[in-house]
């Protein structure tokens, strides 16, 4: 059907189709929208796209998306620097933010899963323990584990909690009013706010 389109249009549609959640129909709709858009609008989009690879990187402190060495959260002087919320992926930060959290973050970069070949050393756990060990003004008093409420997320949380225990700081895990095998992304914000409020101290056995 798309064979009759000019090659450049076909290439654009194919590129869009490779994006997550975009089917062939949506890809065509996006392409037609851009054809009708003004040159300035298209130029702006092109600019943003090329900056992603050039400028977006991971924060050297916490692992969240940043366009400088440190991200906006780490650079924000108004944040509570004594609380650290540990999440699996950068996009989880936005979900916790919406729940009203005002402390700092640590992004692990995934969860432990032997069947996917991911061990503790493949995640940012060493760096996490360094941060939790820091003294002085940056001293963290509470670590909140907010990994996904899936098996892999929870075993990762337990592994970390056991490593953190000897450091003697308060370690909590967000309360799971969540369905078994759920995913943070499908959690509505109300539930997560409650979960953050009702977090409990983890039993590390």
């Amino acid at each position: 059907m798309t064979d009759t389109y000019p090659e450049s249009l076909r290439r654009l549609i194919a590129s869009f189709s490779r994006l997550p959640g975009i089917g062939p129909k949506s890809a065509q709709r996006l392409a037609f929208f851009l054809i009708k858009s003004s040159p300035e609008e298209v130029e702006e989009l092109v600019g943003s796209l090329s900056e992603i690879k050039k400028k977006i990187r991971l924060c050297s402190e916490c692992g969240f998306y940043a366009d400088k060495d440190r991200c906006a959260v780490c650079n924000d002087p108004s944040r509570d620097r004594s609380t650290l919320c540990i999440v699996e992926r950068p996009q989880d930060v936005l979900i916790i933010e919406k729940a009203g959290y005002r402390g700092l973050y640590h992004v692990l970069g995934g969860s432990i899963s032997p069947m996917r070949g991911v061990g503790p050393d493949d995640l940012s756990i060493k760096r996490l323990l360094e941060r939790l060990n820091a003294t002085g003004s940056e001293k963290i008093r509470e670590a909140i584990l907010a990994t996904n409420p899936s098996l892999d997320g929870e075993t990762t949380a337990l592994y970390i909690a056991r490593k953190v225990k000897p450091l003697g700081l308060r370690t909590t895990i967000i309360a799971r009013g969540l369905p078994l095998g759920g995913d943070l992304e499908f959690t509505d914000e109300g539930t997560l706010t409650q979960a953050l409020e009702g977090r409990r101290e983890i039993l590390t056995g």
């Binding site: 432990i112 069947m115 061990g119 075993t155 592994y159 056991r162 078994l180 095998g181």
Partner: protein, 370 residues
């Protein structure tokens, strides 16, 4: 609760068919390998979400076709709903509730149905995994959270076994040990509680089919741990004890994935000492007990499928079994030859002829003189 309509398309060898039923007895009559069992399998699949033969999807689709479908209308409490399954080659099954696709089989309403098939004797004489499978399926049916626990346990078990094979560090393995103990305790507690619910019915049905005064027992055997007392503490102890052996054999040796259920007749295990007839009676009793549990906990009538059973039951036992199921829910049975004499009061039923996959209502509603 009963199935009032059924529509099948390209399911195994069944020719496209659309039928209506009353909430009573349906007899499928025909020779061997004509499609009677396939018809019951289709009803079981669309109602419970799994095939009782647990085979590959490709086998469910008629040879030369791309897709099969089975749709039923279920009457329940003065209202009705439609349930449909579509099996497509090379794709995942699609489930529909009142025409709308649903994910992960999260039905709004359950269809309460149990089925006995000759292969169910495997539950009695097969490996422990068949008995665990029976209990987990029957249990998850009335308590869906059990399935979530089993899936979670299986994933944790697979992760832990990989770590044992890789000779991973103990601090990582122990995280999965903790998970197996936590989830495993829930699974074992569920199974034991379900067993307690099932056993009185099982004993009654077995005595009804196999002999009135027999001593009949069921024992739950923990896989490498003691299933009596404090389960958590017992599992912890068992894991500690088998640590070295697990390391050298590179596999998890303790937990509910190695449990077994023993059925004992006069103190002797059915699996080893039972005759074919006794094993068959026990398998049937298990399915009948499953039905009784559903009736009790869900307070609903239960649809019953009985495949190729009636030719082997003598009139007395047939009478006893019928007394338990007829009038308490819709029943589908298959017969190869003549329709057996029905118990008094049950002379009215629908006969469907099955030949070469064609299902005909030529028999219509028959009346027999009891």
């Amino acid at each position: 609760m009963y199935i009032s309509r059924v529509k099948m398309k390209n399911f195994r060898n069944i020719s496209p068919v659309s039928l209506s039923f009353q909430p009573s007895l349906v007899v499928l009559q025909g020779g061997n390998a004509q499609g009677k069992t396939n018809f019951l399998e289709a009803l079981y699949l669309v109602s419970r979400g799994i095939s009782p033969r647990s085979q590959k999807d490709e086998e469910l689709v008629r040879w030369g076709s791309e897709a099969a479908s089975v749709a039923i209308r279920v009457e329940s409490g003065g209202t009705w709903f439609n349930r449909e399954v579509r099996v497509q080659l090379g794709k995942k099954k699609v489930w529909l509730n009142n025409g709308h696709p649903i994910t992960k089989k999260r039905w709004q309403e359950e269809v309460w149905l149990v089925g006995y098939f000759p292969r169910d004797i495997g539950i009695i004489e097969g490996s422990p995994s068949e008995r665990r499978h029976f209990v987990d399926e029957a249990l998850s049916y009335v308590k869906p959270s059990h399935r979530a626990y089993v899936k979670r346990y299986e994933r944790a078990l697979a992760q832990r076994n990989i770590l044992l094979r890789e000779h991973a560090r103990g601090d990582l393995i122990s995280v999965y040990t903790e998970e197996l103990i936590k989830t495993g305790t829930c699974i074992i507690e569920n199974r034991i509680r379900y067993g307690e619910l099932l056993t009185p019915y099982l004993r009654d049905f077995y005595r009804c089919l196999g002999g009135e005064n027999v001593r009949f027992e069921v024992q739950y055997i923990g896989g490498g741990y003691d299933s009596k007392g404090d389960l958590r503490a017992n599992l912890e102890r068992a894991f500690l004890r088998s640590e070295n052996e697990e390391r050298s054999r590179e596999i998890t040796l303790v937990g509910p994935h190695r449990d077994d259920i023993l059925f004992l007749l006069e103190g002797k295990e059915f699996r080893i000492y039972g005759s074919q007839g006794e094993k068959k009676s026990l398998a049937l009793s298990l399915k009948m007990a499953e039905m009784a549990v559903i009736r009790k906990v869900k307070n609903s009538k239960v649809i019953v499928l009985l495949d190729d059973l009636f030719s082997e039951l003598d009139p007395k036992r047939r009478q006893l079994l019928f007394k338990e199921i007829l009038g308490k829910g819709q029943v589908f049975i298959t017969v190869t030859d003549d329709i057996p004499q029905m118990p008094e009061g049950w002379e009215e039923y629908l006969v469907l002829g099955v030949q070469g996959g064609r299902i005909s209502t030529a028999g219509e509603r028959e009346k027999k003189n009891g």
